[in-house]
């Protein structure tokens, strides 16, 4: 049941993605015993890969279930391309839950047809596209096998196809790489990037930070039902930079200097050393480099940029006491 959007309109959004594909505005969700989401607001731009991060039980799945219309928010609003989220958007959203599942007693091809039709695709279209996808992911010989006869990895692939078969413009992937061997994980990664190239937006919920750094354009970090951080990956990394540089070289380095401090020093064999040096405010990397050149033989010099993983851990720890205080108060 896709809306009859004119190609012109789609082209316009393609060229000028002004409205975010998805906006969450002050979303609250309360379960009997605990608060799942409190005042979460997000904007997910068109044609981007968005990382939704957070420790277990932070509220990621609750937010995803609201976006996929499995449950509703207690208050707040979700907008899909500026329009209040409603059942007609189901056809434009694809969802791969963390807990995978397929009908075990159904054949692969039939299953794909069924799920795609439930998402509003016509039978003929579903048939054609599922054939193409099965071929692409090397599953063609298995199309007439029962799902229970497939290996776990193959089932995961089938489920991935089921998620994207109806060509949704918003694809939500909860831990998409779990259960894949490295080769298939790469295959899926390429497909995800490919889908973005074709104009889809991907929400990525994961704990695996490497994949976030590699693929995501924007991230949001949710902890204890609150959004604690969001923005473009590069920008966040810059904000969390500590002006620390890694130096490897040969010689003896002065330990005390007014413009910088050595926060870690390791002696290596053959007179080599490894140092982590933090610059004080107003000192440029070139100042440090000049000083180093005068004193030691420099073999390596690079800025230490925090990984998303480090930022994640730091931010989660930072926000922990605050929420604990709040819990005691309530």
């Amino acid at each position: 049941m896709r809306p009859n959007s004119l190609p012109l309109v789609e082209t316009f959004f393609y060229l000028f993605p002004v409205t975010p594909i998805l906006q969450a505005i002050d979303v609250h969700k309360q379960y009997a015993a605990h608060t799942a989401l409190s005042g979460v607001s997000l904007e997910i731009p068109e044609r981007s890969i968005f990382g939704l991060l957070g420790p277990n039980g932070a509220g990621k799945t609750s937010l995803i279930r609201i976006i996929t219309q499995i449950t509703g928010a207690d208050s707040g609003e979700i907008r899909f391309r500026g329009e209040k989220l409603n059942p007609k958007h189901i056809a434009q959203i694809g969802y791969l839950p963390e807990e995978r599942g397929l009908y075990k007693k159904m054949k692969v091809g039939e299953q794909l047809l069924y799920l795609a039709q439930l998402r509003g695709l016509s039978r003929a279209d579903a048939l054609q596209r599922s054939k193409a996808w099965l071929e692409r992911l090397d599953l063609k010989p298995w199309a007439n096998k029962f799902v229970e006869d497939l290996s776990k990895g193959m089932q995961q692939k089938v489920q991935f196809i089921a998620t994207v078969l109806h060509e949704p413009s918003l694809i939500i992937l909860d831990e998409p790489f779990s259960g894949f061997d490295p080769i298939n994980a790469n295959l899926i990664k390429d497909e995800i990037i490919n889908l973005r190239e074709q104009g889809a937006t991907i929400i990525f919920s994961t704990h695996r930070m490497e994949s976030v750094e590699e693929m995501c354009d924007n991230i949001a970090l949710i902890n204890r039902s609150r959004k604690v951080l969001d923005g473009p990956v590069g920008q966040i990394k810059n904000t969390f930079k500590t002006n620390t540089f890694e130096v490897e070289g040969k010689g003896r380095l002065m330990v005390v200097h007014p413009d910088f401090e050595v926060i870690e020093h390791k002696e290596r064999e053959n007179g080599f050393f490894y140092d982590r040096i933090r610059l004080h405010a107003g000192t440029t990397p070139n100042d440090l480099l000049r000083y180093l050149i005068n004193n030691v033989e420099v073999h390596a010099f690079r800025e230490q940029i925090p990984s998303i993983n480090e930022i994640f851990i730091r931010r989660v720890q930072e926000t922990m006491p605050e929420s604990l205080v709040e819990e005691v108060a309530s």
């Binding site: 207690d74 059942p87 998402r119 089921a162």
Partner: protein, 458 residues
């Protein structure tokens, strides 16, 4: 109901109908049914229509042998020689019994009559012989007291009672208590079985979706209500398909068996009749019945007097009401209980935990069946019958038991209205439990919790 509902119902239907177990069961039951019928028919026939040939060693000088009446079941032949000789020849013969009437038989107080048989004498055979003897002796007594044969003939009368039921419009219909009771019993059993078998299938299906973890994918595509109703309706269609196939196939196989049985028994009675050709008195009677039977056999495939009466009795039942009522209560009861079974499947994580919730759901079902086939069958218009046929949880079974006996229209209307209301109510409750339960994992659910789920916001 939208297209997603139909897709779901279709999938539930097709995956089940295509299963090997469905095909096997659908074919097996009519075959078993036919086998069972054949077995019963064979037993009944060999009992009923076999002509027992009884030799009579008559030592009295009353000429009792020729007076003993030949019936459809008994044929009396005089035995020659002494009792010992008669016994010996009887052992060698194919005859079924040897009746010994001692010389000093006192008509007023007959003692010492013996019936010899190979093996045990069946009660039935003994009774038949006794009746025959009784008739002959009492005729004899009456003659001795001075009644003429003509007077005797006039004394003989055959009594047969035809029961007639008066319906509300005062129209008369011949009724048959046996057929009515049997119809009530069968209808109740069918509904009971159907609700149980297919209700549990709904529960299993939901449980499977839950443990397969496909629920989340499904719920992001369809409303929980559509998913639940699609499953319930799809499985209902499976059940109806199975029942219709069973009915058609069973009818086919039974007809076949009927034809076969009729043929095989006709030839047997011919054989039995030929044995008796040397007896002039019995001969004409026996051949007459045989030819009659032959004619019937060639005219209709499965003709016995019994089946004929059954058809007549069934025809006398309010068939239209029964049929429409049966379908309504069949579906209404199934939907009402099916929704509850679906909710149980959604509420529990583990199939073994279903027991605690199954219990309260099945109690009204089991009770209505047990009370139905005892109390309601005995008094189909009593207060128990009335109230049980009004309460939606018991009415599907209670009312179908009452249907063959005739139910006032207003009661029927009220009961159906209540059933529909009850059905909507349980579906509402079940849909709420379902909606919350299907995504609830790793938690042992209590009744208190189920109560809370009903008032959760979407």
């Amino acid at each position: 109901m939208n297209y997603k509902f139909w897709l779901i119902a279709q999938r539930e239907y097709l995956t089940r109908v295509r299963k090997k177990s469905f095909v096997v069961l659908t074919l097996l039951v009519p075959v078993l049914m036919a086998g069972f019928l054949f077995f019963i028919a064979k037993l009944a026939k060999s009992d009923d229509t076999k002509v027992d040939v009884i030799e009579v060693r008559d030592e009295t000088n009353l000429g009792l042998t020729s007076r003993l009446p030949t019936t459809e079941q008994l044929l009396f032949l005089p035995a020659a020689g002494s009792l010992t000789e008669a016994k010996q020849s009887f052992q060698k013969s194919k005859h079924d019994g040897l009746l010994y009437l001692p010389a000093n038989l006192d008509v007023q107080n007959p003692q010492g009559i013996q019936l010899f048989a190979k093996g045990n004498v069946s009660l039935r055979k003994q009774r038949a012989v006794e009746t025959a003897l009784d008739k002959v002796l009492s005729e004899l007594k009456m003659k001795q007291s001075g009644l003429s044969q003509e007077q005797l003939n006039r004394l003989n009368s055959t009594v047969s009672v035809t029961s007639v039921s008066l319906d509300e419009q005062g129209q008369e219909k011949s009724s048959n208590a046996g057929a009515t009771t049997a119809a009530a019993y069968v209808l109740a059993l069918l509904i009971y079985m159907f609700i149980f078998i297919y209700g549990v299938q709904i529960m299993r299906g939901v449980g499977e979706e839950k443990s397969n973890r496909i629920m989340e994918v499904m719920l992001s595509s369809v409303r929980p209500f559509d998913l639940m109703m699609g499953k319930i309706m799809g499985i209902a269609a499976v059940g109806l398909t199975q029942f219709v196939l069973w009915a058609v196939l069973s009818y086919g196989t039974s007809t076949l068996v009927g034809t076969f049985v009729a043929k095989s028994f006709t030839s047997k009675s011919v054989a039995a009749a030929t044995v008796t050709t040397n007896n002039s008195a019995a001969n004409s009677g026996a051949t007459a019945t045989t030819t009659e039977r032959k004619d019937e056999a060639s005219a209709t495939p499965a003709p016995t007097n019994g089946i004929d009466t059954v058809f007549k009795a069934v025809g006398a039942l309010p068939l239209g009401t029964i049929l429409v009522g049966f379908v309504i209560y069949f579906l209404g009861g199934y939907l009402l209980y099916g929704a509850l079974f679906g909710a149980i499947g959604a509420a529990v994580d583990d199939q073994t935990d279903t027991q605690q919730f199954m219990f309260p759901v099945t109690i009204p079902l089991v009770l209505s069946y047990l009370i139905g086939i005892s109390v309601i069958l005995r008094n189909p218009d009593g207060p128990v019958a009335f109230w049980m046929s009004m309460i939606p949880f018991t009415s599907p079974i209670a009312m179908v038991i009452r249907l063959p006996f005739g139910v006032p229209l207003w009661q029927l209307g009220l009961s159906v209205a209540l059933l529909i209301a009850g059905f909507i109510g349980t579906v509402w409750v079940a849909a709420r439990i379902y909606r919350v339960g299907v995504l609830m994992y790793g938690k042992k659910v209590t009744y208190k919790e189920l109560g809370k789920w009903m008032f959760y916001k979407g």
